[in-house]
């Protein structure tokens, strides 16, 4: 195969998920149970007869057909850092996420891809409850961080967001100095008591983000005075300054030029040694480059989760194939 061999192969449990784990029993009945894959493929191929976009033979709408599809590939892992079980997300009346069940493994980079409006950003923002800020957003189902229910009413979002950090699409440094940008997180969480410790954290975070050498002489300079790529790395430094366990990245390179993008991708590879990273991206090549596993979403449904090399050479699902080869978008 064209891609390197699968290092993580030993961890995956394969398509047949048995309810031998307490958490798994919460799976919806028609969801991700091994042999269903066959039946659902038939459903899809019926729906897709005569062409990828031709749903005409089936009287149901595209959305309805999509809903019946079951996730193929390897959604569940033994070493899950975060897990989603039957997650539905609604914006008012509109359902944005349909019954998503998958795991995010420890220290893995998982890429979420899919056409615009497929819900990949939505599910990402559920993982640290950034959707709370949207008034009419409703999340159902189970989301867990190391077995802890994220949406438990007793769960406090402030420590959750310290554990699950986020990097956004547009570089958004605070209009403060570079130092203050990085120091903000440790300050508000009270991680340090002395200036020297703070200095250390700032330097370490900037070093990890590969920005230290570029900015060490102008830490008091404005964060917004940096170039786009530097700003994004500053945002990453700011995120890792609070030592999160998981870093969520929402299209972190979409506003950057190719060189800056390459830097960030390099950084993601390095960070994956210490952090679990979930990245939403519009660039399939980027997903292929940086991620260990890739999840493909379509109209709010998780269609396929597989090892990246598998997805990009020989995906299990025809919709995934159609998307990554540029037949649907």
């Amino acid at each position: 195969m064209a891609f390197s061999s699968n290092v993580r192969g030993n961890n995956v449990r394969g398509n047949n998920v048995r309810g031998n784990n307490a958490r798994d029993s919460s799976l919806r009945s028609n969801n991700t149970r091994g042999n269903n894959g066959l039946r659902n493929k038939n459903v899809l191929s019926q729906a897709l007869q005569g062409g990828i976009n031709d749903y005409g033979r089936d009287q149901r709408s595209e959305t309805e057909v999509i809903r019946e599809i079951d996730t193929v590939g390897v959604p569940l892992l033994d070493t899950a850092k975060m897990s989603m079980r039957g997650v539905d997300v609604f914006y008012g009346e509109k359902q944005a996420i349909v019954d998503v069940t998958m795991d995010i493994g420890k220290n893995e980079v998982i890429a979420m891809i899919g056409p615009s409006g497929c819900g990949k950003s939505t599910i990402l923002r559920c993982l640290n409850r950034m959707n709370d800020t949207i008034d009419h957003c409703r999340v159902e189902g189970g989301l867990f961080l190391e077995g802890q229910d994220i949406y438990d009413p007793k769960m406090d979002v402030v420590p959750l967001r310290a554990r699950v950090g986020m990097v956004f699409q547009k570089p958004n440094p605070f209009p403060k100095s570079i130092y203050d940008n990085v120091a903000y997180g440790p300050r508000i969480h009270g991680l340090v008591s002395r200036r020297i410790e703070l200095d250390e954290i700032v330097e370490l975070s900037l070093r990890k983000a590969g920005l230290w050498d570029e900015v060490k002489d102008r830490l008091d300079g404005p964060g917004t005075g940096l170039s786009g790529g530097q700003q994004q790395r500053l945002c990453i430094a700011r995120t890792i300054a609070v030592s999160p366990e998981v870093i969520l990245m929402d299209e972190p390179c979409s506003a950057l030029d190719p060189i800056a993008t390459a830097r960030i991708e390099e950084l993601i590879a390095e960070l994956s040694q210490n952090f679990t990273i979930a990245i939403v991206t519009h660039s399939m090549q980027q997903a292929a480059r940086v991620s260990h596993r890739t999840a493909y979403f379509h109209l709010g449904k998780l269609i396929e989760v597989n090892d990246t090399e598998k997805v990009f050479t020989n995906p299990d699902h025809q919709l995934t194939e159609a998307y990554i080869t540029g037949r649907i978008g």
């Binding site: 195969m1 064209a2 066959l38 493929k41 191929s45 062409g51 990828i52 976009n53 399939m284 090549q285 292929a288 997805v311 990009f312 050479t313 020989n314 995906p315 025809q318 995934t320 194939e321 159609a322 990554i324 080869t325 540029g326 037949r327 649907i328 978008g329």
Partner: protein, 239 residues
């Protein structure tokens, strides 16, 4: 799932590129098939003129190989293909190489035909040649068919056929050995026939390789260096 939707990209130019790639490969395949057929006919019928033509065609086949490789590189650079498209480009690139080798082997057969004509000798070994030649011709034809229709079944048949060709080659070799033992004067001539047989067998091997590439292209399964049984098992697992 067997159908590769090469014509359904959002980019029309991409569709055209891939379609061109396919057509060019089929054209090259047609040339090589003709070359093989001509070479076999030439050696079977001791037709020196036909053999000369095979040598001439070889140049054009080489040019085709270069052009197709360039085309593949361009698609890789421009489109960064993934999944079936990626497999298509990779497979075409590899198939081209095997086709070119087949052309080379056909050229060797043609050279042997010329040598045999110049020798002006009898017909020992020609039966074997004709026999093996027929098998190889069928393989090449089926192989091109399989590619044109992205048909795994036919590709599997080609792979199976290769076993048959190998067996025929072995028995033909044994038979020619007895000729040589019977009549040491004919050794040089029989050696030529042996070489031609050897080349035909090689053509069969290349056809099998191509069949494997086709299976990879259509199914995404890498079946190189795998036994037939294993291949069939894997294919059954992947509907």
């Amino acid at each position: 799932m067997d159908k590769l939707h090469l014509d359904q990209h959002i980019s029309q130019q991409y569709n055209a590129d891939l379609e061109d790639l396919r057509t060019e490969l089929l054209e090259m395949g047609g040339m090589v098939e003709e070359q093989v057929r001509d070479a076999i006919t030439a050696i079977s019928n001791a037709d020196g003129e036909l053999a000369e033509r095979v040598l001439v065609v070889e140049d054009e086949v080489d040019q085709r190989e270069i052009a197709l490789d360039e085309h593949c590189t361009l698609i890789l650079a421009r489109r960064q293909p993934a999944a079936s498209d990626l497999r298509m480009v990779m497979a075409v690139s590899k198939i081209t190489r095997d086709l070119e080798r087949m052309g080379d082997e056909a050229q060797k057969v043609a050279r042997m035909a010329i040598a045999l004509v110049e020798d002006g000798s009898g017909s020992q070994g020609y039966v074997e040649l004709r026999h093996l030649g027929n098998s190889v011709q069928t393989m090449v034809h089926q192989m091109l068919d399989a590619f044109a229709r992205f048909d795994v079944e036919t590709a599997m048949n080609v792979a199976k056929e290769d076993k048959q060709v190998d067996r025929e080659y072995r028995s033909a070799t044994r038979e020619l050995m007895t000729y040589m033992m019977e009549d040491p004067r004919s050794i040089s001539r029989v050696m030529n026939v042996m070489w031609a047989l050897r080349s035909l067998e090689r053509i069969g091997d290349h056809a099998r390789n191509i069949a494997e590439h086709i299976i990879y292209l259509v199914k995404g399964l890498d079946v190189r260096h795998t036994s037939m049984k294993e291949i069939e098992k894997q294919l059954r697992e992947r509907p």
